[in-house]
Symmetry: C2
């Protein structure tokens, strides 16, 4: 059942049906005949043919490391409805944290499978920058700031500052830090810099012995806390780059017979769902993940509809969530 069949049944030309469907001059009489035939047959124009002809897929490619994560799934929930309201759908690609796969998908999507791309990446290699430099499609970066490209990201530096000042304000002086690899600029670098600067500002610069690097897991948080504590038994506060890491740290401290927060304060970043459930409940920093998704979706839609290629950066503010662990 194609547009030709409908035209024949309604006794009009294919062009008339096309005009009826889109918008153009169709007399009332023919309009009605076409309407009835379409209703009777339940005809729906072929998306495939429309796509070939118009070069619009109404699809946005969304590339992300994984989806089973509190923060990332919030981003997706932000993106989804905005796109759907505009008649777009999400083409989801998970890279399992592999930068290579990320580039692969950028490649696949560029072949006009989608109208635009939203990239939620943690690490940007030189290869990334090279490919993005002259990427065929409009795209928006989420979660990291890359100068010269459209992105929506969080104020990780202020997050570090905010949390650390709060901890210093609570009278802690022997503060440790468990971070993540510095390839991740936002989580690995910005957060650390905020923490470092706040400590320096408070007159208690971070000594090398007070710093550890974990991967993103709870287990690794446990291990790094152990290392930290065995080296510096006098530690009275530890800041962790993520809530999951902080959870591991808290577990170790409990096992080691330390009280949180009386003996050692523990804090994380992200306001992960688990952080409200631990006991003591974890002090952390809230990021606007859902909003970052919404903004990214709006941004990509604007770029597609040609509202000027909007390369500006959008930074979202963060907020302290004081609970019981500090």
């Amino acid at each position: 059942m194609n547009i030709g069949d409908i035209a024949r049944m309604a006794g009009v030309s294919r062009a008339a049906v096309s005009r009826y469907l889109n918008s153009g001059y169709v007399s009332d009489e023919k309009r009605e005949r076409i309407r009835r035939v379409i209703e009777e047959t339940g005809y729906q124009p072929s998306v495939m043919a429309q796509t070939l002809r118009t070069k619009k897929t109404f699809l946005i490619g969304v590339i992300l490391p994984r989806v089973n994560s509190d923060s990332i799934s919030s981003v997706i929930e932000g993106i989804g409805p905005v796109l759907q309201d505009a008649g777009y759908n999400m083409l989801l690609a998970t890279t399992d944290n592999s930068p290579v796969k990320e580039l692969e998908f950028l490649q696949i999507f560029s072949n006009h499978r989608v109208d635009g791309v939203i990239l939620v990446a943690t690490v940007f290699t030189e290869e990334h920058k090279r490919i993005l430099k002259d990427y065929a499609l409009p795209f928006v970066l989420v979660g990291q700031s890359l100068p010269g490209f459209a992105c929506v990201y969080h104020d990780d530096y202020s997050a570090g500052l905010l949390l650390t000042r709060y901890i210093i304000g609570k009278g802690r002086r022997n503060v440790g830090y468990i971070g993540v690899l510095s390839e991740d600029e936002a989580v690995g670098q910005r957060r650390f810099e905020g923490v470092r600067d706040a400590l320096a500002e408070g007159g208690i610069p971070l000594s090398p012995g007070m710093r550890e690097t974990a991967d993103f897991s709870t287990e690794s948080g446990y291990e790094r806390m152990k290392a930290l504590f065995e080296r510096r038994g006098d530690i009275d506060a530890v800041i962790c780059a993520t809530d999951r890491i902080a959870l591991g740290a808290m577990r170790y401290l409990k096992e080691a017979g330390k009280r949180v927060p009386e003996d050692v304060a523990v804090a994380g970043f992200g306001d992960n769902i688990v952080s409200g459930v631990t006991s003591p409940a974890m002090t952390t920093v809230r990021f606007r993940y859902r909003e970052s998704g919404m903004l990214a979706a709006e941004k990509i839609l604007k770029e597609i509809s040609g509202g000027g290629d909007d390369r500006q950066q959008v930074m979202l503010d963060v907020g302290l969530v004081p609970r019981e662990s500090v």
Copy 2:
């Protein structure tokens, strides 16, 4: 840059290039010429045109209530890689728990936007069954069993049985149940039936006064626990249809000065990420969410590749996760 350009540049016909790309007779000499031109130009065939011609989109529509949920995002993580390995991509649609939107997306997708559909639904209305009855595309249901359709689901009944027997085994006799609405057959009915039958089997049938119905939120778990406790102060165990509800119940009990599990045992279903973090850590039942996604993806691929329309049901087993709250 299209196939015609490549043909011209290589001095062959379009058909030859097409055969080169797909497979057919191409002489070594021409093969080499075509290869070089493609390499030089970086030509990639247009997915849109291929789709129109071949009627294959290599897209699977995935419809789900939301993504920011530990269980559902695990399902997605199961689906993704399986599809990707087969050269397919996921078209994600979130319905925000609205059955109407669910039907809308089924409608949208049916118009040959995708090659098949995976539907993660919680409620099946008559309308659902009517539409699915003669749906144009292959589809697989996840999480619920609907006779006559291909589905992958969990053994919710055994989950209820297993958990309840365990609790009875721990000597609890005044057992309450906080369930969810019965329109959700798997979570609302099967789990309840398992609990009910195990209690009956243990000679302590569930009295109406021991049953409450919550929505899926922690807050509602708190409220329902309060109602239950105020009515039956002698309660010594409560089973909740989900871990989130159980978390609310645990919070209320703590506030009411009850010890868990000494005074009241608390258990949930789902092995949600939070259940390992509460203190005491929550006893629950593990479901194979990720595997259900993988199996659903494999099933839909098999149906698409015409491996017989495989309407059989696949039930996944569950496992008790004993921790500290019982």
